[in-house]
């Protein structure tokens, strides 16, 4: 491991004091002169057609300025590109900001702008809507039944990317007994190896059905936005996971050119996948502001956030898994039904298959899936989309097999662990070959974790009862996507000798907006207190940057910043050679100087070199730019040209494997069998994520992601009134995100800190893999404490635990969603 001065060291992010003193501005904290407020009219029905809108009385009210309906919107843009490794979202019936055919209860139909929020809300109350109710479905299996309802007029699933109606037969349903998932026609499938041969080698075959629930992302900051127009340009103050990549989407939703968008998002109050550009936030305040000629603030309430704030796609699965006596998995045959909400198909169900093929390296595998549309809030990737669901479906099966085969829970995962350039996923249709990861050190992570957690010593508590308290221990291996490539870095060494790094990363709490810029400082040997990071506002001229989703940022933007730093270093050397003689490679940099090798006191200071760069112009100060950078970066670099020595480059570093990170988690739980109360006694994780960039931030990401998984294991859920298609759990209290009292009492963490071989600096992303690890470590520990057949769905709540213990088997089936 290279010796670094900044990389791998803790530091205080420069935005932290603003956050802790309340000075940090989130979208709702901005004000503008003459600012109006707008309110949304939400559909009261799960599926309907708007026959007529009578807004005369509302518009006649004093203070009401304008109404915006679906008819006034520009045509919807194509869906955003999916995160790397995920199939493109099929979305024929495009979602737009407002609609005349609401497809879930709570979908916005129109918006009203008024001088204050109360007036806007009163105006909404006076609008008379004439709605024609349409058939609706809120449960995938209901929709698949013969004569079951379709969520959309056009159908209930995607077959070859087209919206079609798919119904299973009565026999498909009656064939499934004992609460097992029915398996009718599934349009989507992939296979690895010879499945039957795999099962023939198995000494034990388990056939289990499991339900993972849909949940709203619910970042603590709702997606409030404020828009104002100045000199023909839209200034949008919003909450987003990417400062830079939101611009193009806003332009498309509003129907203007990207050059006419100024996007301000200095602080974003969490996203978790939900604040990748969305239509409502982007379009409504902007269009109402244009219409009224005044700034418009759209505050989003918590309940509205439940509706438009995106949600994870729940997956129901039936998995048949074959094991050899030594625990090796010979075959996996998994069938998945995905609840996709009312719009595009999500990639989660497919990721269930892909991630299982990586985590357990089965000798043969088949994945089948059907994605079903329902009249429930729209889905989007939520932290580890499909990865989290995979761990919930498979880890309890693997632990159950371990118990049946008399193998240790950690050992069975070592036996099946991915190692080195482990292969995974469906074979390429052309070559027949599977893809592979850049590196995997899961066995090392399991060993380190077992030691950190004290697995051997804790085995004595496994399944033991003391009084009413049952104890259990569990473990999980969770892989997920961890990086993309091909973005741009942009920095300036200024005439005052400061290094100014431009960061287009969204500041949503991961710290990566700043962390990745430390790589540029490291490579230029700049002391951190001589560095300044520009972020959060596109008028500050930011480079083309990845969306902070899919755990891309750490990998993608360390590469881009490395490239920009190398470009700046080359220019420093060239300037020194020009002025002081010799060749560029005779010069080195350090201590804020470029100097002749072996003579650190010679040469130029960075400040002098920056002034020379401005005199020289051309490539040195950004007047000539590389041809391969993105047009967005070209615009930004052009605006900054002449302000110093510019480092600007695209990440063209070679990259062979797929970038995935691995997290292993261990948990010890204690359940009171008389009350159902659960306590997480201890929780330990080990991250195989490449080079550690910022230890505090890494441990925070791993534990925070783990807690999201833990919430899915023990409390978070939706609840639906199936008769009327109405959500009942719309706010925090009934959605049940975990509180500080649900967090484990004792938390341990370690990182392997083994550099990824295929990226400069060696750092990968980590936002997502901890989610499945936390989720399944708790589930396997719960099964260890209570028995294998106590739960077949999550969340495993106290009432579920008590009912199951009383019955002697699982009380809650996996066939009905959102109960």
């Amino acid at each position: 491991m290279a010796e670094y001065k900044l990389i791998g060291k803790n530091y205080t992010t420069p935005d932290l004091v603003a956050k802790v003193t309340g000075k940090a501005k989130y979208a709702e904290d901005y004000r503008a002169e003459g600012m109006l407020f707008c309110k949304l009219l939400l559909s009261p029905m799960p599926h309907a057609r708007v026959r007529n809108i009578d807004a005369r009385e509302a518009l006649a009210m004093p203070g009401v300025k304008a109404i915006l309906t679906a008819d006034e919107l520009p045509p919807p843009p194509p869906p955003p590109a999916p995160p790397p490794g995920q199939p493109a979202v099929t979305q024929p019936p495009n979602e737009n900001a407002l609609t005349n055919e609401p497809v879930y209860q709570g979908e916005p139909i129109l918006a009203v702008a008024a001088v204050d929020e109360t007036t806007a809300a009163d105006a909404i109350e006076r609008i008379v809507l004439d709605l024609e109710p349409l058939p609706f479905a809120v449960d995938p299996l209901d929709s698949l039944r013969p004569n079951g309802p379709n969520a959309r007029l056009e159908g209930n699933t995607y077959i070859n990317r087209e919206l079609k109606s798919l119904k299973w037969t009565e026999k498909d349903f009656s064939d499934a007994t004992d609460g097992r998932l029915p398996m009718g026609e599934a349009p989507d499938t992939f296979s690895i190896g010879d499945l039957e041969a795999g099962f023939k080698q198995a000494d034990l075959v388990l056939d289990e059905t499991f339900l993972t629930q849909s949940t709203t992302h619910h970042p603590l900051e709702t997606r409030t936005a404020m828009a104002t127009w100045q000199n023909g340009k839209l200034h949008l103050y919003c909450s987003t996971q990417s400062t830079v990549q939101t611009v193009g989407n806003v332009a498309r939703w509003v129907g203007i050119k990207p050059e006419d968008v100024v996007l301000i998002s200095e602080f974003t109050g969490g996203g978790f996948g939900s604040k990748i550009p969305g239509s409502q936030t982007m379009a409504i305040p902007a269009l109402l502001s244009k219409k009224t000629g005044q700034p418009v603030m759209m505050r989003i309430s918590r309940e509205e956030e439940h509706y438009i704030g995106r949600a994870r796609a729940g997956v129901q699965a039936r998995a048949r898994v074959g094991f050899r006596k030594d625990g090796r998995i010979t075959a996996i045959d998994v069938f998945t039904i995905q609840d996709s909400g009312p719009y595009g198909a999500q990639g989660d169900y497919r990721n269930v298959g892909i991630m299982a093929s990586l985590a357990f390296q089965p000798m043969a595998m088949r994945w089948r899936g059907v994605t079903v549309l329902t009249n429930t809030p729209p889905r989007a990737p939520q932290r580890a989309p499909g990865g989290q669901q995979m761990n919930g479906i498979f880890d309890p099966i693997v632990s159950k097999a371990a118990r049946k085969l008399g193998i240790d829970q950690v050992e069975i995962r070592r036996v099946n662990a991915p190692s080195g350039k482990a292969t995974f996923g469906p074979p390429d249709p052309k070559t027949g070959k599977q893809g592979y990861v850049t590196s995997a050190f899961v066995r090392e992570a399991l060993d380190k974790g077992a030691e950190l957690f004290g697995w051997e010593a804790k085995k004595q508590y496994s399944g033991k009862r003391r009084g009413s308290k049952a104890r259990g221990i569990g473990v999980s291996v969770s892989p997920f996507n961890a990086g993309s490539t091909g973005f741009d870095g942009l920095l300036i060494i200024r005439p005052d000798g400061m290094l100014q790094v431009q960061s287009g990363v969204g500041n949503l709490g991961t710290h990566s907006v700043i962390d990745v810029t430390r790589v540029a400082a490291e490579m230029l040997d700049m002391p951190w207190d001589r560095c300044e990071v520009q972020f959060g506002n596109t008028s500050k001229h930011l480079p083309w940057t990845c969306v902070s989703a899919g755990s891309q940022t750490t990998h993608a933007m360390t590469r881009a910043n490395y490239a920009a730093a190398m470009d700046a270093k080359k220019k420093l050397q060239e300037i020194a050679a020009k002025d002081l003689g010799g060749r560029a490679e005779d010069y080195d940099i350090g201590n804020q100087r470029v100097f002749r090798k072996g003579s650190p006191g010679s040469g130029l200071t960075f400040a002098q070199a920056a002034r020379r760069a401005i005199q020289l112009g051309g490539v040195y100060d950004g007047h000539e730019l590389p041809k391969d950078i993105n047009a967005f970066t070209t615009r930004s670099a052009t605006a900054l040209a002449g302000t110093g020595l510019m480092g600007v480059a695209r990440d063209n570093y070679p990259h062979d494997g797929n970038t995935l990170s691995h997290v292993v988690a261990f948990a010890e739980v204690e359940v009171d069998v008389e009350t159902g109360a659960l306590r997480i006694v201890e929780y330990a994780t080990v991250a195989d994520v490449g080079t550690v960039l910022h230890p505090h931030s890494l441990s925070g990401q791993v534990f925070g992601g783990s807690m999201l998984g833990i919430g899915h294991a023990i409390s978070q859920r939706w609840l639906y009134d199936r008769q009327y298609g109405m959500p009942l759990a719309k706010r925090f209290h009934y959605n049940g995100p975990p509180t500080i009292l649900d967090a484990p009492a004792n938390v341990k963490f370690a990182a392997l800190n083994i550099a990824d071989p295929e990226t400069p600096v060696g750092a990968r992303g980590v936002g997502e893999s901890p989610v499945g690890a936390g989720y399944a470590a708790i589930l396997t520990a719960l099964a260890d404490a209570l028995g294998d057949d106590v739960f077949r769905r999550t969340p495993v709540t106290p009432d579920l635990i008590l009912a199951s213990l009383e019955l002697g088997h699982g009380s809650h089936d996996a066939l009905t969603t959102n109960v």
């Binding site: 803790n10 205080t12 992010t13 932290l16 004091v17 956050k19 802790v20 003193t21 309340g22 000075k23 940090a24 501005k25 989130y26 709702e28 904290d29 600012m35 407020f37 203070g63 204050d116 929020e117 109360t118 007036t119 619910h218 970042p219 603590l220 900051e221 709702t222 602080f267 974003t268 109050g269 969490g270 978790f272 309430s301 918590r302 949503l508 709490g509 991961t510 710290h511 505090h696 931030s697 441990s699 925070g700 990401q701 534990f703 925070g704 807690m707 999201l708 919430g711 706010r731 925090f732 209290h733 995100p737 975990p738 509180t739 500080i740 009292l741 967090a743 484990p744 009492a745 938390v747």
Partner: protein, 211 residues
């Protein structure tokens, strides 16, 4: 909200306000420095007094300053702080007492400002996140603990959490981790690194005890 606050809140808007009192309120409101009513309608002269109208121009003690402000009777403290007094450090996460992002101190006790009427805090001391650091920028020990431990991620919950911790440490300056967790358990974080939040606050408690 404590029983006492509930009683205060219920008691405050007097019923059947006289025409004289109403007009006084309207005139006062018109003269208020910060009369821009974002959420609430500006008063309209000549309209009959609404039943239950109360005096609108009141004085609040916020962060040690006496602030004159025009407040409707149904206005919550969070809205007054954010939209009338420019104190946007107090966040609204749910507006219904579920998340604690809007926590402020009222007479040193943490309260959800989304669920307390502004009129009920007249004559009481309100402290928000903006009032914690010294005038010279010196951070409060709890804030210092957060900075030293790089606590919190998106930090939207942070102002509320910090105020809850400051309030709790006033009555229990030397808590165990478990006690401190209970003390701030009325606050939600969705980035959910609850472990580092506690570490930061334990550090803050230590600095506070040394101070």
């Amino acid at each position: 909200m404590s029983d006492k606050d509930m009683a205060d809140a219920n008691m405050m808007p007097e019923r059947g306000v006289s025409r004289r009192a109403f007009i006084k309120g309207v005139i006062a409101a018109g003269a208020a420095v910060s009369s821009t009513a974002y959420l609430f309608r500006a008063p309209i002269f000549g309209q009959p007094g609404a039943p239950g109208a109360v005096e609108r121009l009141i004085t609040l003690n916020v962060n040690g300053q006496m602030r004159r402000v025009d407040v409707m009777k149904q206005e919550t403290l969070a809205m007054t702080l954010r939209y009338k007094l420019g104190l946007t450090g107090t966040k609204l996460g749910c507006d219904r007492s579920e998340c604690g992002a809007c926590t402020v101190l009222i007479d040193d006790v943490p309260h959800y400002s989304c669920s307390i009427l502004t009129h009920s805090v007249r004559g009481r001391k309100v402290v928000t996140i903006e009032g914690l650091a010294g005038a010279d920028g010196t951070l409060h020990p709890v804030q210092q603990g957060v900075v030293e431990e790089q606590g919190f991620q998106c930090a939207f919950c942070m102002p509320g959490f910090v105020m809850a911790a400051v309030g709790f440490l006033k009555v229990n300056p030397n808590p165990t981790r478990a006690e401190l967790a209970h003390g701030v358990s009325g606050n939600l974080c969705r980035c959910q690194d609850y472990d580092k939040i506690l570490t930061a606050f334990m550090r803050g408690a230590e600095i506070l005890r040394r101070a």
